[in-house]
């Protein structure tokens, strides 16, 4: 067999962590959106690796579902970002705190 399951899982964990840290560090809404996409992809890699090592097609189907949800998220999320930019001339999430007062 190819590289062990642990190798793929480790890669997935590293990518997920980079995505999570990116969500913490980024202040630009599009940057945070892209970090969320990275986290979704890390989870997809886990699904595919398990699907391969247990010879079960269900994992690949769920990857397909995750991709569809990511596409829906992209449509709605970018719509929200455009609407927010139109109102505040910025996509910095620090500027999205009008409700705070």
């Amino acid at each position: 067999m190819e590289p062990s399951l642990a190798g793929y899982l480790a890669l997935s964990g590293i990518l997920f962590t980079i995505g999570a840290v990116g969500v913490i560090f980024k202040r630009n809404a599009i940057g945070m959106f892209m970090c969320i996409e990275l986290m979704l992809n890390a989870v997809n890699l886990t699904f595919i690796a398990f699907s391969r090592y247990y010879a079960d097609v269900t994992g690949q189907l769920f990857v397909f579902m995750v991709m569809s949800v990511a596409a829906a998220e992209a449509a709605v999320g970018l719509g929200i970002i455009i609407a927010f930019f139109r109102n505040s001339q910025s996509i910095d999430v620090d500027d999205a705190s009008i409700l705070k007062n």
């Binding site: 997935s12 999570a20 391969r52 991709m67 001339q89």
Partner: protein, 207 residues
């Protein structure tokens, strides 16, 4: 175990190893570059690199259909949408940090804790006894995915279809202008709106 297999089989296994480390390194490098760059366009291009590397890894995991869909949907549709929005909004680079710098240390520490936790869970899972299933190459083929999708998982597929329809309608509703202006007036309105921008922003300061 390796002594019993033929030399060509060993070569193939070694090629799998080399490819995995190559693409894994490329994916991690692109991911770090995505988080590091302040310019959203550089981040987007780095993210496309991650998607392509992951797609190559899917091919080595005998999932050619998912690899193709990964390129089509992620690197194609989603990233084109993201780059389109970046260009449309004409974003400049992020401002340099105005937050307290110790918060970055806290964020990095939380990231390390998350990494340790994830790797521990994955280690526990992957060291569990394997069921020794027959790892045939046919699992990832398009025909088996399609058969499972339209028999056992028909309801989730229908639900995803409705979700996509809702997202399409929602995206249009969110992104359209409230007063549907004529196409030739859009530029004038945009300039006008930008000139008013300073006065419009005053309501936030007034609070």
């Amino acid at each position: 175990m390796y002594l019993s297999v033929s030399a060509s089989r060993r070569l193939i296994l070694m090629a799998y190893d080399v490819l995995f480390y190559l693409f894994a390194g490329f994916a991690i490098a692109c991911a770090i570059s995505m988080v590091y760059h302040r310019n959203p366009l550089y981040s987007a291009v780095s993210l496309v690199g991650v998607f392509i590397a992951l797609s190559c890894i899917y091919v080595t995991l005998a999932a050619p259909f998912i690899a193709a869909v990964q390129i089509l949907i992620y690197a194609g549709a989603i990233m084109v949408l993201v780059v389109f929005v970046i260009m449309l909004l004409n974003l400049e680079e992020d401002r340099p940090h105005s937050r307290l710098s110790y918060l970055y240390v806290v964020g990095g520490g939380l990231g390390l804790i998350l990494l340790a936790q994830t790797l521990f869970v994955f280690y526990a899972v992957s060291s569990a006894p394997n069921h020794a299933v027959d790892q045939s190459e046919t699992v990832g083929r398009t025909i088996s995915i399609g058969r499972a999708m339209y028999t056992d998982y028909l309801l989730p597929v229908e639900i995803v279809g409705i979700l996509l329809l809702m997202a399409t309608v929602g995206g249009v509703v969110l992104a359209r202008r409230l007063s549907q202006p004529q196409l030739e007036l859009i530029v004038d309105q945009e300039l006008e709106r930008r000139n008013e921008g300073d006065e419009k922003n005053d309501y936030r300061i007034a609070f």
